[in-house]
Symmetry: C2
Subunit: 334 residues, 2 copies
């Protein structure tokens, strides 16, 4: 877990500079502030704007989901650290199209506090703001306490649904309802095999033995449900799906979308071995799969591990999921 | 570097099974053989067919480049091992559209021998076969001995150019000429920070100290030019570009496409920090960048490290590079 970086304190800024140099047609800074990025294409009058943000170190979360059919702007913090509310406010101001702003982000204390303050400031500018927080990690709080759960890779579905609704010119209440519905229909479970190293701290976020894995770990290294001996991929996936399926209602004839996410250092080969087992288990239960996403959607620097997300579909969600979307980090044209 | 797999001997088969389950609209097996994969869409009469292949463990190389505007079929070997010639023959037979087959693959001894035998067998079926081998790794043999060089991530450009030419219904000689031209215009240099572990061997392909990196290492862990103390990202990129730019002619006013490739465990953040430096160096030299590709294009399981590729453009290559292409692992719609 050695890093190819320059000065650790420049990690965040240099990452964004590279991204802006690479994708100037897609992303631009607000007032030259690299922590405030918005879509570079033309704004669409009366379209609901979607603002997101959070700590760095999770690419493509969060800035990778700024683009057509997804979010409109993002505020980027330091690695694993909430951005400042003043920056969130600047992004909100920059992206508003006169139809209000949905703040859509992961359910973490710092982000929650700062987005709340940004919302107050935007309100003083007569911009209406609503909020939806990703809470898909079933390992982070028990059933019945969903509002205490962390947001992890499954937030992708909330961006996708809300972004598609906004492009269809739905109003703020409707975009907000759909974003919350997407969150409510999403369940994720993750496992970690190795930690990551924060550039400035220079040491691992946690330690784990060579023959162990942690089940239910968060994307910042938050402790999971249990630590076990390294299991096979099939047993790991069975465990994860069992936790997910006990947490929400899935029955034969249902349709879900599946997201198999790599946390950073896990080869694509292993993600497909995991998808194979997900596919087998769902087939046995008579649950259909409509669209699967396999790759790195929310990472934790160079952490090894995966997460599996099920997104339960209905007609409304399916139509929005199928809509096109594109950013430098995600493309869905058909 | 722990793995989320089942039995090591099932790694290759289960990976492919997962891929076929995930992308049945894109890839299908030939005669139920998971080592022989071809495009699942309808064949185009008289289109030149492009056959590729090589060892597993490098996703998206090679099968990820089978699709519209790229290759037509792939033969998949065991991890880091050439596939069998009989399988290459089956793929060639399955993809031929009556216009001949270009065998386009990386310059490795086993692949070269096996593709040569497959070509002989196809010739006996009256299918005309040509060959182009990727030789982009400048670290693997000195200037003047380009034909001894290994093919690494830069083979992406050869697929892209040849694939676009084939979709435009160019004939076999022309597709072959353009594939070779793409190879001739491509230069790559890679560095490794950590090794990978072959699933069946269960141990690292090489050892390297915590404060060291290897410059010029191949994607199977082949030794590079030198081993040094870990350098900064900027110094590493400067070193790589210096090696590349001494090897081929680049001058102010030229245009190149840039590929910054992660070898497996390197976070996207670091790839963009590297791209930032590439962009700065080329700007200083007055060299323009037309299209940049940043991500995992050719990996080595969970190896940490990157490679940088420059693809020198002219009008003909630029037009073909800009053509659309899509597979489950690569999309370019605009």
């Amino acid at each position: 877990m050695k890093k190819l970086i320059n000065k650790p304190e420049d990690f965040g800024r240099e990452t964004i500079e590279g991204i802006i140099l690479a994708h100037p047609e897609s992303l631009k800074m607000v007032n030259g502030n690299f922590r405030c990025l918005v879509r570079a294409d033309e704004k669409k009058k009366s379209k609901v704007a979607i603002s997101t943000g959070g700590g760095a170190g999770h690419l493509p979360v969060f800035l990778g989901y700024v683009g057509y059919g997804l979010a409109d702007g993002v505020t980027v913090g330091n690695v694993f650290t909430s951005p400042a509310f003043a920056d969130m406010y600047e992004v909100g101001m920059a992206i508003d199209n006169g139809a209000g702003v949905l703040q859509l982000y992961g359910n973490y204390g710092g982000d929650k506090m700062n987005f709340a303050m940004a919302a107050e400031m935007l309100d003083m500018e007569d911009i209406r703001v609503t909020e939806v927080r990703g809470t898909d990690d079933v390992a982070s709080a028990p059933k019945g306490e969903e509002d205490k759960r962390r947001g992890v890779a499954g937030i992708f579905y909330a961006y996708k649904i809300a972004g598609a609704a906004a492009e269809k010119m739905f109003n703020l209440d409707e975009v907000t309802r759909l974003a919350q519905k997407a969150v409510d229909h999403t369940r994720t479970m993750g496992v970690a095999l190795s930690p990551c190293i924060l550039p400035e701290a220079g040491k691992a976020t946690f330690t784990i033995a060579d023959d162990e894995m942690e089940l239910g770990m968060g994307i910042h290294g938050e402790p999971g449900i249990e630590r076990t001996k390294l299991m096979t991929c099939d047993d790991t996936v069975s465990y994860m799906l069992d936790k997910i399926m006990r947490d929400y209602e899935y029955k034969a004839g249902d349709e879900v979308s599946v997201l198999v996410n790599g946390l950073g250092a896990t080869p694509k080969e292993e993600l497909y071995i995991a998808y194979r087992k997900v596919s087998q288990i769902l087939a046995e239960k008579g649950i259909g799969i409509h669209r699967r996403y396999i790759g790195e959607f929310a990472t934790s620097l160079e952490m090894a591990g995966i997460s599996v997300t099920l997104f339960k579909l209905d007609g409304e969600l399916k139509e929005l999921l199928d809509a096109p979307a594109y950013t430098p980090f995600f493309q869905q044209f058909r």
